[in-house]
Symmetry: C2
Subunit: 153 residues, 2 copies
DNA sequence: TGCAAATTGCAGAAATTTTGCGGATTAAAT
DNA sequence: ATTTAATCCGCAAAATTTCTGCAATTTGCA
């Protein structure tokens, strides 16, 4: 994430540290950013209240969670009406395999990130879910064979 | 993430809770999953050691971090040699704007997620970084104008 | 059925988080 | 230039939480 000079140096250090390890103890965090624990905690709480820190989450290992297949899919719609978009987005919201659904500009309307147990599970999703949506005109799958960088994992 | 029945029900609850809130206290977590604090903590530690839980991270608000522009980019390489791939991946690893770099199958080799302060910053990255890499043959930008679903945010 | 390993709950010890308070620094206003 | 107000800091005590033995219970398997 871009640390643009919008926050002071200590805040930047705090955010960087918590992005790297969201469960670092306040004691160590304070030590690392050069602040007393109390002052450090107050800043963290303020950042949370201000919404700069939206929350914390555990990062799980996909393989051990039964996710053995990952793909990105571009989706072109047959109609560009608001109704068609909403229908498609609702379908995506309901599909557990879809972890991300982005509305994009360009030759296609949507970009999806899809996680499935394996190829068979993906195929089922592709044909039974995406293939049955009337709004969908084109589908292009990009199977992920590796992620050299994934800071959002 | 798909909670396939690979773990017992309590483990599933633990993982779900920590995915939702990675900083929940062990006391509350234990209470929520119906276990004593000590037993619960031991499970969490075991999950961490087993690598099921890879870590924890704070989720920040992009807008407040100065990220006002988001795009996905497909990248085609001119050569498919290992050297070319490594060179490209190293360049991506160094670029702070690149939050994700996926190696994919299909008409292109890579899919990037790029975050920038604004269009100008993106343009600078596009031309000065991507445009100067000798391995890069084709670039297609998909500007994100909305994310109806983003469970990895 | 019986043994061995794994898991649990309890309770205390150790460590961390959280809060009150006085003082210092900074900014704004007079 | 001086005063006032607003922050922000560090210290220290209080409140919670995490962490660790240990005995008891449960689970898995021969």
């Amino acid at each position: 994430m871009q640390l643009k000079m919008k926050h002071d140096p200590i805040t930047q250090k705090i955010l960087r540290a918590l992005t790297d390890n969201g469960r670092i103890s306040n004691l160590e965090l304070a030590d690392r950013v050069g602040l007393s624990p109390s002052a450090c905690l107050r800043r963290v709480v303020a950042l949370e209240k201000a919404g700069v820190i939206r929350g914390y989450r555990a990062v799980l290992d996909p393989a051990q969670m039964g996710v053995g297949f990952l793909a990105y899919i571009t989706v072109g719609l047959s109609q560009h009406t608001k109704a068609a978009q909403e229908a498609f987005e609702h379908a995506m919201a309901r599909a557990p395999e879809v972890r991300e659904c982005h509305n994009v500009t360009g030759a296609v309307e949507y970009l999806l990130r899809v996680e499935a147990a394996d190829l068979a599970a993906y195929k089922a999703f592709h044909t039974e879910v995406l293939g049955t949506l009337p709004q969908v005109q084109s589908l292009t799958t990009y199977v992920v064979i590796g992620s050299p960088k994934d800071e959002r994992a």
